[in-house]
Amino acid sequence: MNKIKLTINNQEVEVSKGTTILEAARSLDIKVPTLCYLKGISDIGACRMCVAEIEGMGLKATCNLEANEGMKVQTESEEVVKSRIRTLELLASTHTFECWTCPREESCYFYDYLQFYNVENTYHDDHKFMSNTRIINESTAITLDSGKCVQCGACTQVCAKIQTPATLDFNNRGIDTIIAPTSCGETLDDIACISCGQCSKVCPTAAIIETNHIKRVEAAIKDPNKFVVVQMAPAVRAAIGEPFEYPIGTPVREVEGKMYRALKELGFDLVTDTNYAADLTIMEEGTEFIDRVKNGGPLPLFTSCSPGWLRYIEQYRPEYLPNLSSAKSPHMMQGAFMKNFYAPDELNKDASEVYMVSIMPCTAKKYEIARPEMEQDGIRDVDAVLTTRELARMIKQHGINFRHLEDYKPENELAQYTGAGTIFGASGGVMEAAVRTVYEILEGEPLPNLDIHAVRGVEENIKEATLKLPKTGLEVNVAIVHGGQGIKKMFEILDKGEKEYHFIEFMGCPGGCVNGGGQPIVREEFMQGLDVAELRAQALYQSDKEDVEFRKSHMSPVIQRAYEKYLEKPGSHAAHKYLHTTYTDQSHKLK
């Protein structure tokens, strides 16, 4: 008796026991509106949009009601539609409508439902009903806007269940209820949030968005005294097509050239690519790894590319900070290298003239550039971070027809990269890139197979592999961890000390950067987060295999030149000054 038969809108359907009515309806392609529902993550039944009429039970939320044998469900009866409209009317009465300036103008579920149900804004003709105080809570990475919040609580669920910090929750009661940092009144910078931005991706409206950097970037572009350089992370090219209706997982070669061209048209003075610095990171981190293996640790070495992960370890597990690689994340290296070496030397620009903008799939990068460590001699490494979403919005606001752009390929050295740099965007990519280089340096001969499938994929949040180095006689145990849940689990394993690891890649977001908190929003009802990550990752792996001349960081001629001309060798004094950083215990934010 593991199957259950029920009828939904007079259609019979058979589902397995434990299936909710909402999922049963979806299996019949019946569309049930939802605001707070996230499959497997959030079924708190708060928004009341998914109500349906169930014979003998009246109106019930379907997202958390298990189907029973013989149930008769109507999802579109007059009563149901009326109830949804009333719910929407009530939500509309608390909403700050400024759709024309809203970053979610094209991906707002709430707007879609208001339109679909043709909801009249009945409460707006009377000042009596304007009762909510709008609270805008801005942190370096994430901005909460209570005026746009529909109180669905999806963010609280994703934060607690997927990422684990549980930094957002309902505060106050009644009409004054707001979603806010758990210790009320403070911003997300002051508490143990990791700035990952996964909350902003499940928000149905613009109540949680990345803290806006478009304004400062536009101002810099207009400023004649500034030489504005842009760079973009590997994962950006895996998703930049999506806001322009390219399917998820569109090959990199179809959109990368258009992306470069769009940046040119937006007025950036120089287009570079973070992939360059990803190769640089492999040189630095790989060398650091070899150094630690030879000189007795501390091992395992933890990667340091993900600023969400950095916040996690600094706040939650500072006792492990000695394990963290001192290498800066790629875009910070790119900024430091550009301002301190490339611009003065090759472009004849002073470091203070250069304004560095990073396009990132990430909200935590906005936090990262504000870290006090990220400057040398008064020169900040990076000045602004735009998320993939913000870039798409800028392109649209400038009236650029992305789909019809001619490809462009920047020719400066800082825009050249290897396949190893590209796959940084996928979970396991940093490890794979590192292995390709470390193996060859230690063994002195080429790695037999460059595609290391054991470290790819998103199904497990902890992946493990053992790399055998026959000549050196080493067996290197590596692990790849992504998402807060995985990180928490990994520390539990490390605490027990039963298993020996040498090198661990950590990413703050589930699926790695391709599924970062700054990536385009994909609606839950169409696709789950990790399926999206898988498709975007495939695009990067395909590019690594088919589009590039070199697939190993140390083989890159531009990287070799950088060391010859400026940095001497990986881990040198100059490299340490500009490409490495330090960390501090931030556990006081946990209180």
Binding site: A46, R48, E66, R86, L90, Q151
Partner: protein, 453 residues
């Protein structure tokens, strides 16, 4: 501890106290009964011996030495006892919903007496704490639970002290804890103090609160009986319900049914408040009429006219003067979509404006809404604002329609009982006092002289 010792304590104590137990505080011995309040104001609340002397813990002994757990549930089912906290759901049936399989299960005694007009549970816990503990132990035995929580309202610090002492005393005598009365039955009770939210009288909000979460309600099903506290089967009953169980087990279902009327068996304690000459707490058989209740409260204050009978507060439902001879009973009230409630009764006279009264309650409920579901969080506020418009004289008939619509929406689409009950509040007010609402809107006339100021 065994039955012999229990009997010895009883005999010794009876000898010691003399005629102390003959006291009877009832003012009207014909209409009032003494079942739930049997021990209140009679025994020393801190003396477990005096509770035993009044046959306390004899029911527990009877159940665990002579009866199977199912038999206990059966007797409660037969007695017709219904939940005393408002819903009026048959208690025995609720007990029967708990899965029979072995494993961790919990009893929660809902002592979050949040209704502003009710002081029944407070009196019981202060005056007769052992009856609550014994009732919980009996329920624990019936469903196979070994742990019980009393979810105590924050504003009852005296109860906290009394209950904790009672638990210690019972443990010391082997009437709670491990191997109760020498049998294999273990049952522990812990008092969990709430933080003062009204919504935490709702079952699922209590569970959230005890688990350490914000006191939000959850969707049902799954019901607590299947997936309750810490996801284990959980039985939640109110103080008054549990405290009468020992007497039912000891004296039998038929004895209990001899009070009250069919469909509304037994007695109910009411706190009579409002415009009465002598507001008080009384225990009466169910089926008594509203008129008789008013008389027990000393009649209407200043000889004014009776206007409304209100149960619950702030989640109120109300009846008008035409229903003065209606028996206070579950089926009769249900027919009129009114709740018997947990016993807090407000009697209003003709100096009360029902628009104003409804507004007061709806506004209060918005403040107490947990804010989780849309209808309750926003709907209660908009309803309060619409009522405010009526009070100011700026409302039209369109606003009344909106209010009727909102009442319906709250009743059908809210996540938990709190929001649904606000719908009932508005519905019963507009139903029983429709003319008054219309007079406010059309004539700008407030008979009570409260509005348009």
């Amino acid at each position: 501890m065994d039955i012999k010792l229990l009997k010895k304590i009883k005999d010794d104590t009876l000898k010691r106290v003399g005629n102390k137990f003959d006291k009877d505080y009832r003012t009207n011995k014909e209409k009032e009964v003494r079942i739930v309040l049997k021990n209140s104001y009679v025994i020393d609340k801190d003396s477990i011996d005096e509770y035993i002397a009044r046959d306390g813990y004899f029911a527990l002994n009877k159940a665990i030495t002579e009866m199977k757990p199912e038999e206990v549930t059966e007797v409660v089912k037969d007695s017709g006892l219904k939940g005393r906290s408002g819903g009026g759901f048959p208690t025995g049936l609720k007990w029967g919903f708990i899965p029979k399989e072995k494993g961790q299960k919990y009893i929660i005694c809902n002592a979050d007496e949040g209704e502003s007009a009710a002081t029944i549970d407070g009196v019981l816990m202060r005056q007769d704490p052992h009856s609550v503990l014994e009732g919980m132990a009996l329920a624990g035995y019936a469903i196979g639970a070994s742990k019980g929580y009393i979810y105590l309202r924050y504003e009852y610090p005296v109860c906290l002290e009394v209950l904790n002492k009672a638990i210690e005393d019972a443990k010391e005598k082997g009437l709670l804890g491990k191997k109760i009365l020498g049998t294999d039955f273990d049952f522990e009770v812990e008092v969990f103090r709430g933080a003062g939210a009204y919504v935490c009288g709702e079952e699922s909000a209590i569970i959230n609160s005890i688990e350490g979460n914000r006191g939000n309600s959850k969707s049902k099903p799954p019901f607590p009986a299947v997936k309750g506290l810490f996801s284990k089967p959980t039985l939640i009953n109110n103080v008054e319900t549990l405290s009468v169980v020992p007497q039912i087990i000891l004296n039998g279902a038929d004895w209990y049914k001899s009070t009250g009327i069919p469909g509304s068996e037994g007695s109910k304690v009411f706190t009579l408040t409002g415009h009465l000459n002598s507001p008080k707490t009384v225990e009466v058989p169910l089926g008594i009429t509203i008129r008789e209740l008013i008389e027990l409260g000393g009649g209407m204050r200043d000889n004014r006219k009776f206007k409304a009978f209100v149960t619950g507060s702030p989640n109120v439902t109300m009846l008008g003067s035409e229903d003065i001879d209606l028996p206070v009973a579950f089926p009769e009230f249900k027919e009129r979509q009114v709740m018997v409630g947990s016993g807090g009764v407000v009697i209003l006279d003709d100096k009360t404006c029902m628009v104003d009264f409804t507004h007061f309650n709806v506004d209060l409920l918005n403040i107490e809404s947990c804010g989780r579901c849309t209808p309750c969080r926003v709907g209660t506020k908009r309803a309060a604002q619409l009522l405010e418009k009526i009070k100011e004289g700026s409302a039209s008939l369109k606003d009344l329609d909106k209010l009727i619509e909102l009442a319906e929406h709250l009743r059908t689409a809210s996540l938990c009982g709190l929001g649904q009950a606000v719908g009932m509040t508005m519905h019963t007010a507009m139903n029983s006092f429709k003319d008054e609402f219309l007079a406010h809107i059309n004539e700008h006339e407030c008979a009570a002289g409260k509005c348009f100021k």
